[in-house]
């Protein structure tokens, strides 16, 4: 019995087939698991380990390394406020403090209604809109407390759901073409390319 829903399972298998080795699909699979459950559940870890032919401990150990993968439940919306250098200089720490007040949760915590989780992030590479705020990894570009509050209310009421899907959904554009060629075909192509390359090399006059 698969923990993944039918559609998620199908995408998971597609992902695995894209790579020369199954384990390479691990990071995208972790994101996919979060798309279904919001965070990385034990059941998903088991299923990913089966899909990638690695142990559950390996999957968990790898997942724990990465900031975007959550091993505990998080809110429907994960709000990230950057306090790294460019944001620090433009009120990032104050924005983080304000966000904590507004959302009613500590940094790293989740609001009591389970809607928001607040995180202090490292540079999100949107420094021309410092201090940088993201919701579920979408840049919302609210640089003042007032704009932040207004944005949060819209998110709370679900008015931004088109642009900001629930936490975990990262890439909504599906790959629709050109699945990977088989290893054998690849080897043949490479051999042909190599032969062609050698044929083109300048001939030694001797």
């Amino acid at each position: 019995m698969s923990h993944f829903r039918v559609d998620i399972r199908q995408r998971a298998e597609e992902l695995v087939s894209l790579y020369p080795r199954r384990r390479s699909a691990l990071l995208p699979l972790l994101h996919l698991a979060q798309e279904q459950d919001g965070y990385l559940t034990d059941e998903a870890i088991a299923e990913i380990s089966e899909l990638t032919l690695t142990s559950a401990a390996d999957v968990r150990g790898t997942a724990a390394f990465y900031d975007m993968i959550h091993l505990e439940p998080v809110g429907r919306y994960v709000v990230g406020v950057c306090t790294n250098i460019a944001c620090l200089l433009n009120g990032g720490e104050e924005m983080l403090e304000h966000a904590s007040q507004k959302l009613g949760c500590a940094v790293g915590g989740t609001s009591t209604d389970g809607l928001f989780t607040l995180e202090e992030t490292e540079c999100l590479a949107d420094c021309n809109f410092a201090p940088c705020v993201s919701v579920n990894h979408r840049y919302v570009r609210t640089t003042t407390p007032e704009a932040f509050d207004a944005m949060i209310e819209e998110v709370r009421e679900g008015r931004r759901d088109g642009e900001i899907p629930p936490h975990g959904t990262l890439v909504r554009v599906r790959r629709n073409g050109g699945l990977r060629v088989s290893k054998k075909e690849l080897a043949e192509e490479r051999a042909a390319a190599e032969a062609a390359r050698i044929a083109r090399l300048p001939k030694d006059p001797a």
Binding site: L30, N84, I85, N176, G177, R197
Partner: protein
């Protein structure tokens, strides 16, 4: 006066609201470079890039053409594009993947053709949700257009591109860590030797790793010739470059300007560029090339923005990020925050970096927030010296990758330039700016 006459090479579509769509791309010369490349021999394509002497735009500034030629002699298995842009205050690749993903894909196909690689990966940091969607769309569109897949545009060349998603780790920008992440593991940098990607890369096969901006330059270079690219800029710094300007300037943003022909002053103060310091303040310090780079003082404002020009003064252009501290910015706080970043992002493999970053961060914290002692100033320098002995530039390395040895840059710079402010922090029992 800033010199703004150079053509826009990678940001030419920036003015269009729909710059990321295939429609706009095709209407503005999309795939022309690729079609031209396919009519040439792969070696000729590589030669053009050599002629352009395009320096890699990731941070190390290694000539892309030479990177390739080191490999051309034997078959390369994989091309990996590094879009894990995480160097603090660097946001030029963010611009490229969101605003012109098709140009990136075209560049990747050209590079793959030159290297005769049939499998490429575009590794983007997971935080680029919109960028990931747009690059995936660009790949989908390329398949639809016949620019990817079997027999590209009727040639004998076939290629598949997989868009790979990172999951939040600064260290994955280091090319061997990126390869580990692409293999589905923790982003632990590999020991070099033997793990030079060129020899022992993805799945231990020869792999070329290039930056997003490097790839995005290729369509123009093929269309206009390497010589035209090399005619821009000066010396080793050819062409144009994207500079990500941030901090206390009026118009932070990504600006494409000709290499060497402009100075820090031009970039910061020209009304068409940075537009000056906020509230007409003074430049206190400049962090060129990402937070791994030693800082510059206002005396270096007239340094041209070129690889060797900046390198000659003991810093680097690095990732093309430039952060301005104004007279109201606390250098102690800035250096502390940068150290906190390294402490969070250290992968933990090497003791000097893992232990040192946290230790330095705690001492810097008490200097900034109260409880600092006068001897702390020498203490942090001593700790820095343990990570990068001699505190020279470029730093001596005691660790597998350069993350650790990058920690001392900001602290060493801040203490050198603003020691009296550190002392004032100690006397004041915390920050003097609050």
């Amino acid at each position: 006066m800033a010199s703004l006459s150079a053509p826009k090479i990678v940001s030419s579509r920036g003015e269009f609201a729909d710059s990321h769509t295939i429609t706009r791309f095709l209407a503005t010369g999309g795939y022309e470079g690729l079609k031209k490349a396919l009519s040439m021999f792969p070696e000729q394509v590589a030669e053009e890039v050599d002629k352009a002497s395009l320096l890699g735009r990731g941070g190390a500034g290694f000539p892309a053409g030479r990177k390739w030629s080191m490999l051309r002699k034997s078959p390369v298995s994989y091309l990996v594009v590094n879009g894990d842009e995480s160097e603090p205050a660097t946001f030029k690749d963010h611009f490229l993947v969101e605003r012109d993903p098709n140009q990136l894909v075209e560049g990747v196909i050209i590079a793959a053709y030159a290297l005769q690689v049939t499998q490429a990966f575009i590794f983007l940091r997971g935080e680029f949700a919109l960028g990931l969607e747009r690059v995936q769309q660009a790949v989908n569109d390329a398949y639809d257009q016949g620019a990817l897949g079997k027999k590209i545009f009727g040639s004998d060349f076939s290629l598949d591109i997989v868009v790979h998603t990172g999951a939040g780790a600064y260290v994955c920008g280091e090319e061997t860590a990126l390869i580990e992440a692409l293999e589905g593991k923790r982003g632990f940098p590999r020991i070099k030797p033997p793990f030079f990607p060129a020899v022992n890369g993805l799945y231990r096969e020869p792999t070329v790793v290039n930056n997003v901006e490097t790839m995005s330059n290729l369509p123009w270079i093929i269309n206009n010739g390497g010589a035209a690219f090399a005619a821009l800029g000066e010396g080793r710094s050819t062409g144009t470059r994207l500079f990500a300007l941030a901090g206390k300037v009026n118009n932070p943003g990504v600006y494409e300007i000709e290499m060497v022909k402009n100075t820090f002053r031009d970039l910061i103060f020209d009304p068409a560029l940075g537009g000056g310091v906020v509230n007409d303040g003074q430049v206190k310090a400049i962090i060129p090339g990402g937070v791994s780079a030693p800082w510059f003082s206002p005396e270096q404002l007239d340094t041209p923005l070129g690889q060797d020009e900046v390198g000659g003064l003991g810093s680097m252009l690095g990732s093309g990020s430039i952060v301005i501290l104004d007279d109201k910015s606390c250098p102690v706080r800035a250096a502390w925050r940068i150290t906190k970043f390294y402490s969070r992002e250290s992968c933990g493999q090497c003791t000097p970096c893992r232990e040192g970053s946290g230790w330095i961060e705690r001492v810097m914290y008490r200097l900034e927030h109260g409880g600092g002692r006068m001897e702390d100033i020498e203490l942090v320098l001593d700790l820095c010296d343990n990570i990068a002995p001699g505190l020279s530039w470029p730093p001596q390395q005691t660790t597998i990758c350069v993350l650790g040895p990058s920690i001392p840059s900001s602290i060493n710079s801040a203490i050198k330039m603003f020691r009296s402010e550190f002392e004032a922090h100690v006397h004041n029992g915390g920050c003097t700016y609050e």
